[in-house]
């Protein structure tokens, strides 16, 4: 017992000593030197959400590299340190702390999983460091406005949900609407916002089905859907689950018009679901398709992506493009902040963006009270032979 007491006392002393290390004084402007700007970036690079994470990194890095080759921003090159958040809050907080405390970055970019971002929020606010994201679509990120968080790219989940709900009710004018959603944060936001919208329109959904990420069998849910036979089913699921589900639906003879959310708008869904995906409609955040190479911006994006990352079936994907777009917005704000770069100036620079048109997506406008830059999403329909087409519908979510 004596040795344990001594050992514990020793541990206590060591731990206290570690704890009492003073934190180094704040540098003038962390992350900014004469010729570089140090930016920290996060994405899930390990674990189940790696696809989106890799797209985030590759798409954004394509743009950053392109800018650096053209001379940088106001004479400084951008150096981006990518850290993995594994889509888990604990890891996300650790990554953000490392970037701020050890690497002393100037600003933060990226993030795909909203839970990791929200967990790290207190750290960001304490350090007064700016974080710009294109992917994290959770509504609380910009509503209420957080002084250091900005987003442009994916619309907040509530708007996404309302867009597809509106499409069903007002555009397709159907009566029987069903909802099929995942039990995770994304799916639940969808369900709640669709329900809210439907209540406003005095429409009752005829079915609300849930599933868990990773499920393989949807027979029960589909059989129930078959009973009520909805005209439209709004679905908020991840790619592999949706692909399995839709094939099973076809087999069981459940054939409503499927209107899906963001993830299913990506090409792998159409590939995996095959024929079953034909005729389904999904959200698409851009004005143009990835195949619209007649549009100069799209062509440039593809060319740069191919040069720096390389083409593969399914890449570049929507995820790549949205982060390329996001990087463009981020770089523009950095440019506007001028040569005398400080964190406050960056925030003002962001807020000064009005109708900044990246020529890929809807123009971006920020202000003191609005930190989400671009509203408005499009819808895309999947055609046979892996073709797709943008629908000519303009939907205003609110």
């Amino acid at each position: 017992m004596k040795e344990i007491k001594r050992f514990m006392l020793g541990m206590l002393i060591i731990l206290c000593l570690i704890g009492s290390q003073g934190t180094s004084d704040a540098i003038e402007v962390p992350g900014v030197t004469k010729d570089t700007i140090l930016v920290g970036a996060l994405a899930p690079l390990t674990g189940p959400n790696t696809t989106s994470g890799v797209a985030c990194r590759d798409g954004a890095q394509t743009y950053f590299d392109m800018i650096n080759d053209a001379g940088g921003i106001n004479g400084r090159k951008l150096k981006v340190i990518w850290e993995d958040d594994g889509c888990v809050p604990a890891k996300g907080v650790a990554a953000v702390k490392k970037l701020i405390e050890r690497d002393k970055v100037f600003a933060l970019f990226g993030g795909v999983c909203s839970n990791a971002l929200l967990a790290a929020l207190p750290v960001v606010e304490k350090e007064k460091i700016l974080w710009f994201t294109a992917n994290c679509s959770s509504p609380p990120i910009t509503k209420p406005v957080k002084p250091f968080l900005f987003r442009a790219g994916w619309n907040p989940t509530d708007m996404q949900a309302r867009t597809i709900a509106k499409a069903g009710v007002e555009y397709f004018k159907v009566k029987k609407i069903g909802i099929f959603h995942m039990s995770d944060e994304y799916g639940v936001y969808y369900r709640d916002n669709i329900k809210k919208y439907l209540e406003e329109k005095n429409v009752q959904p005829v079915a609300i089905e849930t599933c868990n990420p990773g499920d393989v069998d949807f027979t029960s849910q589909l059989t129930r859907l078959k009973e009520v036979d909805p005209d439209v089913v709004l679905m908020a699921m991840w790619i592999q689950d949706a692909a399995v589900m839709i094939q099973q639906a076809k087999k069981l003879g459940v054939n409503p018009l499927w209107i899906g959310a963001g993830p299913t708008g990506e090409e792998p869904f159409a590939v995996m679901a095959g024929e079953a995906a034909v005729g389904t409609i999904h959200l698409w955040p851009f004005k143009y398709l990835l195949t619209d190479t007649h549009v100069p911006m799209v062509a440039k994006f593809r060319e740069e992506f191919k040069k720096r990352i390389g083409e593969k079936p399914g890449r570049p994907s929507g995820g790549d493009m949205i982060n390329y777009n996001g990087a463009m917005v981020f770089a523009e704000a950095l440019k506007r902040a001028g040569k005398n770069l400080t964190r406050d100036k960056l925030v003002s620079a962001f807020e000064s963006l009005k109708n900044f048109d990246s020529l890929l997506a809807t123009p971006v406008t920020f202000s003191k009270d609005e930190h989400h830059g671009n509203y408005g999403i499009n819808l895309v329909v999947i055609l046979p032979k892996l073709q797709r087409a943008l629908l000519d519908i303009k939907i205003k979510p609110y």
């Binding site: 390990t46 189940p48 790696t50 696809t51 994470g53 890799v54 039990s183 089905e209 849930t210 599933c211 868990n212 990773g214 393989v216 069998d217 027979t219 029960s220 849910q221 059989t223 129930r224 790619i239 592999q240 692909a243 399995v244 094939q247 076809k250 087999k251 069981l252 003879g253 792998p268 590939v271 995996m272 095959g274 024929e275 399914g314």
Partner: protein, 290 residues
């Protein structure tokens, strides 16, 4: 009525896959006392190997299938030899955790080699649904169910009549006695893992067209463990019955109660079975009333 039949049939197809996974785990456990947590990952690797041969190299189905099984056998033997053989004398928990480490390694390796995206595996049979007496099945479903049943029959015959099969049973019953009788226990360990490889390899490739191929698909097969325990970890028949039972119960519960309750119901049924019969449905009774 027809709806009920459709649900039961779909549940049975699902259950068949659970049963095969469970069988593999039980076979390994009975011979080596190791619970293979990485079972699902082996299924995943089989799907990826099959995918590589079928899509990257463009070969037709049968050679892809056979070669993929071959690779999985090789992989399983490697795991047995490199990770588990050195731990033969180690406490049992270390072995189980080692299979967990194998799980981590296999997932990481899959992501490194093939990337994290989900891939589509082309179906080898027509996707048009069959319509048998009003019940809709795809050719795939029939193949899965059929293969499951054929394997179960083959396993039964194997254990009853084949020399290696009987050797495995001997090792399962009493390692020391078996080795005294001249059966190489180490060789049996290898054979058991090879057998498991064939079982899970087939499942992986059969399910790939339906599920797609992606690095986290192994997690689905935790249900295999559930089924194995349900049936009593020591009984093969138990795994089979348990597998079909779970598949059907899940599907029915999901329909009649609610999709949220689907999983809860399965676990509740499980707990009830354990309370009533703590050693599972069919376990050889090891009375230990204390």
């Amino acid at each position: 009525m027809l709806r009920l039949a459709q649900l039961i049939v779909d549940g049975t197809v699902l259950g068949g896959t659970y049963a095969i996974c469970a069988l593999g785990m039980v076979v390994i456990f009975k011979a080596t006392d190791v619970i293979n947590i990485a079972q699902g990952e082996l299924v995943m690797m089989a799907a990826f190997f099959g995918f590589t041969f079928r899509v990257y190299f463009g070969w037709s189905f049968t050679p892809s299938f056979l070669l993929a099984i071959g690779f999985i056998i090789f992989l399983s033997l490697a795991i047995e030899r490199l990770a588990l053989r050195p731990l033969i004398k180690a406490p049992i928990w270390t072995n189980i955790i080692t299979t967990m480490a194998v799980l981590i390694i296999l997932q990481a390796a899959a992501r490194l080699i093939w990337g994290p995206e989900p891939y589509a595996f082309p179906p080898y049979l027509s996707r048009m649904p069959l319509n048998i007496a009003g019940i809709r099945l795809t050719h795939q479903d029939v193949a899965i169910l059929g293969t499951s049943i054929i394997y179960m029959i083959l396993l039964f015959l194997f254990f009853k009549y084949a020399r290696i099969g009987k050797g495995m049973r001997a090792v399962q019953m009493d390692k020391e006695a078996a080795s005294l009788m001249g059966i190489s226990v180490r060789k049996m360990y290898s054979y058991v893992w090879m057998l498991n490889a064939i079982l899970v390899g087939t499942i992986g490739i059969l399910l790939a067209p339906r599920l797609g191929v992606y690095s986290t698909m192994g997690l689905l097969f935790i249900k295999g463990f559930v089924v194995a325990v349900m049936g009593g970890f020591t009984s093969l028949a138990g795994s089979i019955v348990g597998g079909f039972l779970l598949g059907v119960v899940e599907t029915l519960a999901g329909f009649y109660i609610s999709s949220t309750m689907k999983d809860i119901v399965s676990f509740i049924i499980l707990i009830l079975i354990l309370i009533v019969k703590p050693t599972g449905l069919f376990a050889e009774s090891v009375t230990k009333r204390v």
